[in-house]
Amino acid sequence: MPDKLKNNEPFIEDPTIQTTKLGRRAFVGQVLVGVIIIFLWEFLTRIGWLDSYYWSSPSTIVHTGWKAITQGTLLQDLAYTSGSTILGFVLGTAAGYILGLSFWWSELYSRIFEPYMIAFNAIPKLALAPVLVIMFGIGFDSKVILAFLMTIIVAAIAAYSGVQSVDRDLEKMLVSLGAKRRHVFMKVVVPTTIPWIVSILKINISLALAGTIVGEFISSRQGIGRMILYAGQVLDIDLVWVGVVVLSLLSIVMYLGTVWLEHALMKGRTPKS
């Protein structure tokens, strides 16, 4: 800053200016890369370097997508898929969290059930999908249950790890202040485990989506998964691409939702406390 020094003004470093500058530049760069990829995709399919039969093209996808919205049932399918994903995610994560927390209450109980939890985690739940569809029908329920099963154990294991990380001395301190077990639970155990459960929200939302889609693949009358399967069977590859793009957008939106949820849950504390 030679010109500032000339005026005898001290140079005051302000790191926030640099971070906002960096943030703005990064954003421009991010948008640019996306635009270039889409442009290249479009361009290469137009000049025939990429076979547009397999690769479709951005403009065709948008066009087909618009048709699917206006003439088809894309929006209903989207609501169906996102509905069962979110419901399964919320139920599975909440149930898993409660299950993991419950292990704090009794060492005997947690010792008995720990191996079963690990065993259940090892089962490839998606392989059970055909059975679940037979058990719960081809409707909404079987998708929710798949998403639920995909997420519950991940949440339970995370919560249990959190429970095991509880600082014994904190417990001791509270007890010396006259606390009963329920006080320790509410004031130490639950807050300690929150970062643990928060850290798996993003994993669980994508697991829930995978569960739902597989459920729709197996057998369904609605949903994006069913739409993709149908489009593949009638060789409408443009429509397959529409499904893939819509699912990607859905998972981005849900990802942002979990980021928001993380912020809400972690308010007033640094991550990984």
Binding site: D167, D169, L170, K172, M173, L174, V175, S176, L177, G178, A179, K180, H183, K187, V188, P191, I194, G268, R269, T270, S273
Partner: protein
């Protein structure tokens, strides 16, 4: 008025099948309003004794009496503070210090109202709404002690509360503790391995032996109060220090 009596307490553990004595028959009387220190080499059962007094572990024998009432194995009768500040990182300083009141069922609003002037008067003004990680070690210990004080028990156990602080901060904290002790008229039982600290703060010092821990000697600290940095240069202070140093060296030698 509170008088703490430790009557014949001992604690044995089994280690690899062999019973080990962590604390041998200990008798100790802490009179009301006194500042009593326990000093000894590490591993001398000081913390075991504290855990017994606080009701967190069961003694192998003996009883703890508070004003003649048996409080063995009952927690919540005395304030207890460890070397670690043990503040909850997700709570503000204000909400940390009121946790004892909260457990007792006092509404948050009322508890905060009670805690605020206390924080202000004892050096934590301006930090009430900060989280513990924004504070220095000394400040965090202050918060820890204020939490114990707000719990409002007549007897307070302090287990090396300044052990992790640098010398400068430690001195400051000692003066701060003396000020609090004077204002609140608590009975304090203090564990340390720092001789200067023990003499500077206490009315009475109990020297513990190396494993198995038991009281080897009791020294009356007859230095005038209020004490200040000048006390440290006092001849009497130096005599006491020499006496304690010799005793502790003996302990170290015998444990080798």
């Amino acid at each position: 008025m509170s008088e703490l009596e430790i009557a014949g307490c001992s604690k044995y553990y089994k280690k690899n099948g062999v019973p080990m004595c962590a604390l041998a028959d200990t008798d100790l009387r802490v009179e009301n309003g006194r500042f009593v220190s326990i000093i000894g080499p590490s591993g001398c059962g000081k913390s075991t004794l504290f855990n017994i007094i606080a009701g967190l572990i069961k003694p192998s024998s003996g009883r703890i009496l508070l004003d003649g009432k048996d409080i063995t194995q009952e927690s919540g009768h005395v304030g207890y503070m460890l070397q670690k500040d043990l503040l909850l990182p997700w709570r503000s300083i204000l909400d940390n210090v009121i946790i004892g009141l909260e457990i007792r069922g006092i509404p948050m609003k009322e508890a905060r109202k009670r805690a605020l002037p206390m924080l202000k008067n004892y050096g934590l003004g301006g930090f009430e709404y900060d989280h513990p990680d924004a504070l220095s070690g000394g400040m965090r210990q202050r918060a820890g002690l204020i939490r114990t004080l707000l719990y409002d028990k007549d007897v307070i156990l302090l287990d090396e509360p300044f052990g992790a602080l640098d010398a400068q901060t430690r001195m400051q904290m000692q003066n701060w503790l003396l000020e609090i002790w004077k204002d609140f008229k608590k009975t304090i039982l203090f564990v340390t391995h720092d001789i200067d600290e023990a003499i500077y703060l206490s009315d009475e010092i109990h020297v513990f032996t190396h494993r198995p821990g038991k009281i080897k000697a009791t020294i009356e600290v007859d230095l005038p109060r209020p004490r200040s940095e000048k006390t440290l240069m006092n001849d009497r202070f130096l005599t006491l220090k020499k006496e304690l140093l010799l005793m502790l060296r003996e302990e170290r030698v015998s444990s080798d």
